[in-house]
Amino acid sequence: MPVTRRELLRAAALIPAAGALAACATPAAQQTPAASAPGAAKSLEVWIFDGGFGHQYATDIHQPLFKSKFPDVQVKHNFTKEITKVLQPRFAGGNPPDVIDNSGANAMDFGALAQDGQLLDLTPLLEMPSWDDQAVKVRDTLDPAVIDIGTYDGKFSVLGYVNYIFGIWYSQKAFTDNGWQVPKTWEEFLQLCETIKKSGKMAPFTYAGKHAQYLYETLLTMAAKIGGNEVLVNIDNLEDGAWKAPAMLESATRWAEVGAKYLMEGTAGLDHVQTQTAQNKYQVAMLPSGSWLENEQKSTTPPDFAYGMFPVPDVTGSDKMPYGTLHTQPGENYIVPAKAANTQGGVEYLRAMLSKKAAGDFSKMVATVSVVKGAGEGLDLSPGVKSASAAFAAAGTNTVYYRWQSWYLQLKDEAVAATGQLMSGGITPEKYLERIQAKADELKKDSAIKKFRRT
């Protein structure tokens, strides 16, 4: 049968269709990275999360510094608020960029990335000489918690750049004007709440009701203070009954009482911006947050507001950890994908970021504390950052952290939901812990979810 013109056209029309069918959502087969000619000028693709700190610090501080040592490398700067949406397909396609600031609400799941071997082992970076001083290793310029927290599967692969310091935040002006004292014990804290409530000037306490992780942060830190660091280690390691530890019950019971008596009206339905703005308007005295708060609120804070932060108070009188115990956690997480085209350039970029100059200028530009030791020295700090830094210095080695919420996102969602219920009186402290424990047990049994451990 001779091929007619139409049949030919029909066949021609179907060929691209077949091609298009092959190139859809399913992952592409492994691509071998193209080997580049030695000595050739490479490019470096950088993606910055455009969140509270913006992305200008990268183009103004980090990239010029990097270029000063590697003038031949062409830096391709990119930024987005939607890290996952933009970059997840790149990973699935086997051609991820070279440096990623994987942060924000739409960050990619580190557990999933680690599980699939997508993160470059950054241990060699730690052993490299630091940018400023050949005699000092990068490892020695960093807060040790960074290495601890950035370690997945025994490999240091996530570099937290900012040191977040958590506590209960208040206005130093409001406290001075009304003669209120920073509470050192739980009794004093409750008395203060009572005094503030009776004064009728403002509500005593609030938290971001829509994002209850702000509250369980304080609850967990207080539990660690009562029962020691192992309370949090056990929770992270999904140990049996870790959530139902006596210290957890003690802490949950106390916060449930605050929830029942001293919360600002409507707290459960407000988010962090709304509650923080209410504090700026002197409608509420205290709320739990971290050291980014001052920068986040700078447009609504009255000039004489003077942010201050205090650590969780002494609870039982026989707490395992002393007064001043703090929750600190590196954040703003940088990674170099293992399958990036220019991993070496990516590592060098991080090394430049960790120089004293880069970190110091960064701290000044975005008003926060970086993880590079001594980078903030001699800088003119704002009251909130000063207060947080002082608390951090006073805490010394008494700092705690937890990682379950980034390891097991399902557990985080359950804990957020349950904490909201605890604070609004929907469930008892016992039920609250049982509920989260049940979720933790379920995850522990689930073979599809990668487990992590820490010490």
Partner: protein
């Protein structure tokens, strides 16, 4: 043969587009649902029906399915009821019996407004309307009156009703227009004849309007059913914790999104998607079967 080829040549492009952008993704979702793909790997493992077995114990997903079921029951019923009454009043409910009530021209435009707004805007607006403090559009006046604010979105036993309310608010306008168009095609004489026979507004509505709009109502029912099975945008944007508090407003689509783009369990999320696909298919078949009936000709 030539005729067939002629038709075929016109269909090649749309059918190809349909295959590539509709059928192929469905087929791929079925495949992905049987892997443990976490979205970043280039070679996911095939794990058979494991995801579907796991799904049976997923309390949150079944909660979401229940919410969809509840919406499926209530959303079409309430929306159609309100839209019918409005359409009736706007078109034939006036005193003369053949025109709308006083001011119906203004209302006709007003009712359609919500339809013009993008769903996301509606969701963001209502998140503000429902604010639990003095800044809320409903709670502000309530608190002025000395009443306690209502946690429209923060109280787990109220939140789903708030979602339903917003869905209805947004949908009604469109169906008023749809039913108005349906009424316009009904001959005026029927209404006039009924009035001469002494039918009041209520009788007119139940004896004439409703039976003659049967076909249109059926279409509305299917559309609204599909809306109820989705409801993703409003839930995701408006509610606390995307389907909260405490998963009290979550829907199937939200759980699919959560599992895929937050937990990075693309395989499992695809399995949820496959289940939802069958729910929707089931609904479509069922509603077509149940609504088969003879048409009224006029």
């Amino acid at each position: 043969m030539r005729r067939r080829l002629f038709i075929f040549s016109f269909l090649v492009t749309p059918v190809t587009l349909y295959l590539v952008y509709v059928i192929a993704p469905y087929a791929q979702a079925f495949y992905i649902s049987m892997t443990n793909w976490r979205g970043v790997s280039a070679n996911p493992q095939f794990i058979g029906l494991e995801n579907f077995r796991r799904l049976l114990d997923d309390t949150v997903f079944w909660k979401a399915a229940l919410h969809n079921g509840l919406l499926l029951l209530l959303l079409p019923l309430i929306t159609i009821a309100i839209a019918l009454v409005f359409a009736f009043l706007l078109n034939v409910g006036g005193k003369a019996g053949v025109g709308g009530v006083w001011g119906s021209k203004v209302y006709r435009v007003l009712f359609f407004f919500p339809q013009v707004l993008a769903v996301t805007i509606v969701a963001v607006l209502f998140a503000q309307v429902f604010r639990p403090d003095a800044g809320g559009m409903i709670n502000g006046p309530l608190m002025e009156l000395g009443l306690r604010p209502v946690g429209f979105l923060s109280n787990p036993s109220i939140a789903l009703w708030s979602v339903l309310g917003v869905l209805i608010w947004q949908a009604v306008g469109f169906y008023v227009v749809l039913f108005s168009a349906g009424l316009a095609s009904v001959p005026r004489e029927l209404f006039e004849a009924a009035q001469i026979d002494g039918a009041g507004r209520v009788a007119l509505f139940f004896r004439i309007t409703l039976p003659l709009l049967r076909d249109t109502v059926q279409v509305a029912w299917v559309y609204l059913g599909i809306l109820a099975l989705d409801a993703f945008a409003i839930v995701w944007v408006m509610t606390d914790q995307h389907g909260g508090p405490d998963f009290s407003t979550t829907v199937m689509a939200a759980e699919i999104y959560r599992n895929a783009f937050q937990y990075f369990r693309f395989g499992y999320a695809s399995a949820l998607g496959v289940v939802m696909f069958f729910f929707v298919l089931g609904f479509a078949v069922l509603s077509l079967r149940l609504s088969r009936r003879e048409r009224i000709e006029f």
